[in-house]
Symmetry: C2
Subunit: 340 residues, 2 copies
């Protein structure tokens, strides 16, 4: 398995990115990570004792900054690390690509080359996990598609369901449509159009209808579909809420600590730590861009070496799994999913 | 001060709705609450000893169910309690209206009568509170306008800022645009258009630019603007996240309780209860529909008597305050805010 890694993408690149790659190849003997970016800087990070045969470098002289307009930047900076990664995908040199860089540029670069799409896929979407009482649920799309059509959301549901089956091991996950109310008529033309597509499709039995923001955590729907703007706000505000609550809780506990008898304080701290871990999905490394050939994982800009290591492993798994084959099969079986 | 209350609106109406009205008039000697709905059912709830002179009843034979299409229902059920409330507003018989019923019908009924809009207002928006490290922030719109234009969001920022000043007592609150990234170019045509309006306006100094979901809790922006779909998802998923976290925390604590020495358990429980109260805004009773003459508070469908009582008081305050006058003044001073 060969994975291209954008060594220049991420808030602290290339340091933790290269370190994550090294950890991943040390963990997985069958993995080769192609490091894409500034050769000198990557070599400086690798050091003399790295297993260079499984960490080849492909030089790219440019990288795309987080504040650049993606399409413009991709056109101007022809030799940027993200485009180089996708070039390796297009030529079949790697099976997967991983980046903690500019999400918009990652997606736009994939969209530039429709040959990268799986047959039948209209627009790839980014999936992410969200906590629920039933375990993690899949939210798709969380940022690839800001102007989604009903047909896109419809496909996201199917791709997200197959992803939940293959990666989370959920049997026949139900699909919910994120909306402002449980009642059928609520929402926008986009939500009503998506509902109509599901209700007239062979996936109708898997479609739970509208799910409100406050009911997501119930986990009745293990796949939640929405456009990329709403999904991104949902995901990030959820992360913010968890951080805010734990920060507030910590203050409250610190105030209380001196009054707690015996070892109650340390016990509480341990319990809280265990609880917080349930809300962290660093072990998944990032969100996959579903709907492309091979695999693509888009990591947080703030990713450390652990997140990168895990993303590389998951990318390897996803590229070798039957995920893509099943997506193609299911979309091909659905005439309405291929409309334009 | 006279407030019309939709006695038939809410999951458990009319019981807790009428009870809340009675509490409100008992608390506030200057308040009269006009109970709008099924006369016989309201009278049964009031009982013989209620101060009837300050709880007059206006009979409405119909009410709009939560699963009805708002515009259609308003047209078919001419004698519904929501339309009757707005009729009392339009005729000047009351200064404010409160309902825990169908949000869409409440908004649509207000929109039917553009005379109800404050001068210069394009579309009213619903404001709500969201917790932050700086205290509550205002999110607007959370469900009135599913197809917002940049001009609408621009006005929401100004109305929300005046609301934050008048009701929360914040001095010159900053306005943030909810978006998928901090960088200028991120987002949709709606977010870019809204940014352009602010940057070329006299409110440019109050505009903080894009705010991501994960940074809301910092509270740097005390007013967050977004379309009604996104705002509704944000608000409800935030409520869901708080409930989920406390439920999970309770499990964790229950598991730990037997091992806690002395009174550490009860102390923890008290601390948690105090913490949870910080996330509950029942004291505000509900979200105001900003941009109309007088005041309108839209409550949760699940509102109990306490929420209704508080909503009635806030509605009275808002209608008598200089909030509306200031909104009119600021929108009139801004040519771009009056474009169409």
């Amino acid at each position: 398995m060969r994975v291209a890694l954008d060594a220049m993408g991420g808030d602290h690149a290339p340091g933790p990115i290269v370190a994550g790659a090294r950890q991943a190849v040390e963990d997985s003997p069958e993995l080769t990570v192609v490091l894409v970016g500034d050769q000198a800087r990557i070599e400086a990070e690798l050091g003399p004792d790295a297993p260079r045969d499984r960490l080849p470098i492909v030089h790219a002289s440019q990288c795309i900054g987080m504040d650049e307009k993606p399409v413009e930047a991709l056109r101007k900076k022809r030799d940027n690390s993200i485009s180089r990664c996708w070039g390796l995908m297009a030529s079949g040199d790697v099976n997967a690509v991983v980046s903690a860089g500019h999400t918009g540029a990652m997606v736009a670069s994939a969209l530039f080359n429709a040959k990268m799409f799986l047959p039948g896929v209209r627009r790839p979407g980014i999936a992410a996990f969200y906590p629920s009482h039933q375990g993690p649920i899949v939210i798709i799309d969380v940022g690839a598609n800001m102007n989604a059509k009903a047909e896109d959301l419809y496909q996201y549901g199917i791709m997200g369901a197959i992803y939940a089956e293959e990666i989370l091991g959920v049997t026949e996950p139900k699909i919910g449509l994120l909306n402002v109310g449980a009642e059928e008529e609520k929402g926008t033309d986009l939500t009503r159009g998506t509902r109509d597509l599901y209700q007239s499709s062979t996936w109708a039995g898997r479609f739970l209808g509208n799910v409100e923001g406050r009911d997501l955590h119930e986990g009745h729907a293990r796949v939640i579909i929405c456009d990329g703007f709403v999904g991104n706000v949902l995901l990030k505000s959820g992360e913010g809420a968890v951080e805010f609550l734990f920060a507030t809780l910590k203050q409250e506990l610190a105030r209380l600590m001196p009054d707690l008898p015996g070892d109650a304080g340390p016990k509480m701290a341990t319990a809280l730590k265990g609880l917080k871990a349930r809300f962290e999905y660093e072990e998944f490394g990032g969100g996959p861009l579903l709907g492309i050939k091979g695999a693509c994982i888009i990591c947080h800009g703030s990713s450390g070496s652990r997140a990168i290591r895990n993303a590389l492993k998951i990318a390897g798994t996803m590229a070798s799994e039957r995920l893509s084959a099943r997506i193609v099969e299911h979309l091909a079986a659905l005439p309405s999913a291929r409309s334009d």
